[in-house]
């Protein structure tokens, strides 16, 4: 048996330690439930719901379907390539166990095992959300059968797998360069900054190029060589073979590429892993230059209440000296900032016109409220990005640290309050910077600036509190893997749910002729209230649990 298979098996065993006496039953049950949902329950449910919802869009759907599928798959593709880059350096913070290092496994084994042990979870996610996508498609082509549905799931799964492995290779290669190249590692701070900008700008550029290409048939034909199109071609072909008639990459080529290229990538990443993957324990260099650190920390220290000063400062230093956290910090700010820039630049590009077309049919928004609308959406999204990035940094590096707080006279709650304190510091600093940037970029007036600043800070804080609450219930002791992903997905779903709840609450209460901005404020504040309530409950419950863990 190949060693990577043994490692994957082991990884799955660790993940399912709770069910150790009946693992087989556990796996069979979980997959049976998800398969039942994906093949029967989900399609039945969505096929019952969709026709009503979509009747408002009748005629539009067929028109934009082509675009939506290709655009969606490309976004997924790019997102999954970028995702590993967001958790850069997590691996080198944690390290690999000596038992593995001293055994005859090769870098390729460890690399593939880390990758493959993720796949069952991704497959479950595809099974969970797939029915919605497939049912949407079956509104256009009612002849889709279960086989088609399953092919669609497989195509999405393959696409995710393929892009994730590209991203993982890329992320590992960057870490490898950081550890092996003296010039890079000595100026790692600026390289990181540069890197994050390259990553984020290329993300937006792709979308930009996509929109441009859509109106240019020649460019479009060339663009269709891009990997995500192999997969979207298959889906389009399932719906209606004529949809891809004009492409150079026809259905057979698409299938061959979609399966063959990932297989080749797997094979070579296994054989040649030592080129991009290092598993030697690394000697961590300090990321932040000590002298500059001094002034900054003095400032923060002054800004902190006496009672918390020492603990906050200790956590702050521990937090910022982890390369992983600095990367995430840079990403979350740059991501929001460049999102703003991108929207600013593309206000009259094809994508927005389609959006306008769709939105215009349902509600028309007067231009003067556009500022508030856009900025509030920014603060919501920005809060989500910041909160998710920061909330998953481990508060306790290990169980020993948790016990250190527990045995101290200050108690374990202090550690949590100090962590939130530290987050507030970071938030205020970045909030101010981001607000100034947006204020200049969009030439906003005072009211909008005030609204953006406060909503951004509040949203970020709410998400952080929610994740901290989750961490109190089950701390992340600097571990890697599914624990983190699970927390992120959970928080993401929670936001959507609270948004839906607030819409359900507010919309029926609106008077017919409500002022747009006022109505919007209602929704915003209700949503904020609901999220904040959820966050407080989670935090309180988390603290309760944390005081009782042993």
């Amino acid at each position: 048996m190949s060693l990577w298979i043994i490692l994957v098996k082991n990884e799955l065993r660790i993940r399912t330690a709770k069910f150790k006496s009946h693992r087989k039953l556990f796996f069979i049950t979980i997959f049976a439930i998800f398969l039942f949902w994906a093949i029967y329950l989900g399609p039945v449910f969505f096929n019952a719901v969709f026709p009503d919802i979509l009747s408002a869009f009748s005629g539009v759907l067929e028109l934009v379907l082509h675009f939506v599928i290709e655009y969606f798959l490309m976004t997924v593709f790019i997102m999954f390539i970028l995702y590993p880059l967001f958790t850069l350096f997590r691996k080198s913070e944690i390290g690999i166990k000596d038992v593995i290092l001293s055994s005859p496994v090769k870098p390729g084994d460890i690399f593939l095992s880390e990758f493959f042990s993720q796949l069952p979870f991704i497959f479950l996610i595809v099974l969970a959300v797939g029915p919605a996508a497939a049912s949407l498609l079956s509104q256009v082509n009612p002849q889709l059968t279960i086989v088609h549905y399953f092919t669609i799931y497989l195509v999405i799964f393959l696409l995710m797998t393929f892009s994730l492995i590209i991203g993982t290779i890329l992320a590992n290669w960057i870490e490898f360069k950081f550890s092996s190249n003296k010039r890079i590692s000595s100026s790692s701070n600026s390289f990181l900054l540069l890197l994050s900008f390259i990553v984020i700008i290329s993300f937006y550029l792709f979308h930009y190029a996509f929109n441009l290409a859509y109106n240019d048939p020649v460019f479009k034909n060339w663009l269709s060589i891009f990997p995500s199109f192999w997969y979207s071609n298959i889906i389009l072909y399932i719906i209606n073979p004529t949809l891809i008639q004009s492409y150079i990459v026809n259905i057979w080529l698409s299938v061959i590429l979609a399966i063959g290229i990932p297989l080749m990538v797997f094979f070579f990443s296994y054989r040649k892993a030592e080129v991009f993957y290092s598993y030697e324990p690394q000697h961590e260099k300090n990321l932040i230059i000590k002298e500059r650190e001094g002034i900054f920390f003095k400032f923060i220290e002054k800004m902190t209440l006496k009672k918390y000063r020492i603990v906050v400062m200790v956590q702050f230093k521990n937090f910022l000296r982890k390369k992983e956290n600095v990367t995430k910090l840079i990403y979350s700010i740059a991501f929001t900032g460049i999102l703003g820039l991108f929207i600013f630049l593309s206000l009259d590009n094809p994508l927005t016109s389609i959006k306008d077309y769709l939105v215009g049919e349902l509600v028309s928004i007067p231009v003067e409220y556009f500022d508030i609308l856009v900025m509030s959406i920014f603060s919501w999204m920005g809060g989500l990005i910041f909160g998710m990035m920061m909330g998953i940094s481990s508060i306790f590096d290990s169980k020993d640290i948790l016990y250190l707080y527990k045995k101290s006279t200050k108690g374990v709650n202090t550690s949590i309050y100090s962590f939130l304190y530290l987050m507030t510091h970071l938030l205020l600093l970045y909030g101010i910077a981001l607000t100034i940037f947006f204020a200049i970029l969009f030439s906003l007036n005072f009211v909008v600036v005030g609204i953006f600043f406060s909503t951004y800070i509040i949203y970020c804080f709410i998400i952080v509190v929610q994740l901290v609450g989750l961490q109190c219930i089950r701390p992340l002791y600097g571990e890697r893997g599914k624990q983190i992903y699970f927390k992120i997905y959970f928080i993401g779903v929670l936001q959507v749910v609270s948004l839906l709840i607030s819409l359900f609450i507010t919309i029926p209460l609106f008077p017919i002729a409500i002022d747009y901005s006022l109505g919007f404020m209602y929704i915003l504040f209700t949503n904020m209230g609901i999220s904040a309530t959820i966050a407080s409950v989670m935090l309180l419950f988390g603290l309760f649990k944390l005081n009782r863990t042993d």
């Binding site: 048996m1 060693l3 043994i6 490692l7 098996k9 082991n10 065993r13 660790i14 993940r15 330690a17 150790k20 006496s21 166990k97 000596d98 038992v99 593995i100 290092l101 001293s102 055994s103 005859p104 496994v105 090769k106 030697e280 324990p281 000697h283 260099k285």
Partner: protein, 258 residues
């Protein structure tokens, strides 16, 4: 022809940034010998065994373990060595049996043999009743026993033991010492022990080396080492070698922190 030397190191060095953890180390350890590397904390013992197990690559110099080069033949080196690391290196979320099965698999030991060996280890270390508990519930000493079993599960020709008895109670330490003695006498294994516990060195080792700040200061049988500095026991010799000024340590005021 079989290589006579189990370990041969030539000017082996490892730098962490500017810090020299191991400084041009030369070793010649024949097969079947028990070698003890002694030294204070931070002397470079762990770094040395990690180098010899191909876990980290040397900054300069070279070494061969069982005739295999540690840089170019990593796979063979790892397959033939057993390495017990100083901190318990195991998966907290596995049971003892699952963990040992996993390690056995990593070294491609046949399934039936793995199970037979696991049974024996659990019996020997008195862990039979706990074999289905998660390792996170084990005490440090119990974890150490599991790790030691994991080190032996593929029956390696040469054993690297980093602080093997550090967390064990006297009886368990006795078991481990007898185990090591037996491994050398009856199974003709080569054993390389890193320790700062002198009784282990005195009892088990044919040859000891004392290392400090990455430099090997002296090498020889315990008797030779004692004779070289006119000491009548190993502890005396150890402190004389590491602390040449006669009463360097005793002059310190150990309560100055109050």
């Amino acid at each position: 022809m079989l290589e006579k030397l189990a370990i041969k190191a030539q000017n082996l060095s490892k730098y962490y940034g500017k810090l020299c953890a191991v400084d041009s180390l030369n070793l010649k350890i024949p097969r079947g010998q028990t070698y003890g590397l002694l030294g204070p904390n931070g002397a470079g013992k762990t770094t040395t065994v990690r180098l010899l197990n191909s876990i980290i690559t040397p900054s300069s110099g070279d070494a061969e373990v069982l005739g295999y080069n540690i840089k170019s033949q990593k796979h063979q080196v790892k397959s033939n060595c057993g390495f017990l690391s100083e901190s318990p290196s195991l998966y907290e979320k596995l049971t003892a049996r699952e963990f040992l099965e996993f390690v056995g698999d990593l070294y491609s030991v046949p399934k039936s043999l793995i199970h037979k060996r696991i049974d024996e280890f659990l019996k020997m270390f008195d862990l039979e009743k706990r074999e289905n508990d998660l390792l996170e519930g084990y005490s440090r000493g119990m974890k150490q026993k599991v790790c030691l079993s994991a080190t032996l599960i593929h029956d390696p020709k040469i054993l690297f033991l980093d602080e093997p008895t550090a967390n064990l109670d006297p009886i368990s330490a006795r078991i481990v010492k007898n185990l090591i003695l037996d491994l050398v006498k009856r199974a003709n294994k080569t054993v390389f022990i890193c320790t700062h516990l002198l009784d282990i060195a005195k009892e088990l080792c044919d040859v000891i080396g004392i290392i400090n700040k990455g430099v090997l200061l002296i090498e020889g049988s315990p008797k030779e080492v004692m004779a070289s500095v006119n000491a009548n026991n190993l502890e005396d010799a150890y402190s004389k070698i590491l602390n040449p000024s006669p009463n360097g340590a005793s002059n310190k005021d150990y309560l100055s922190w109050r």
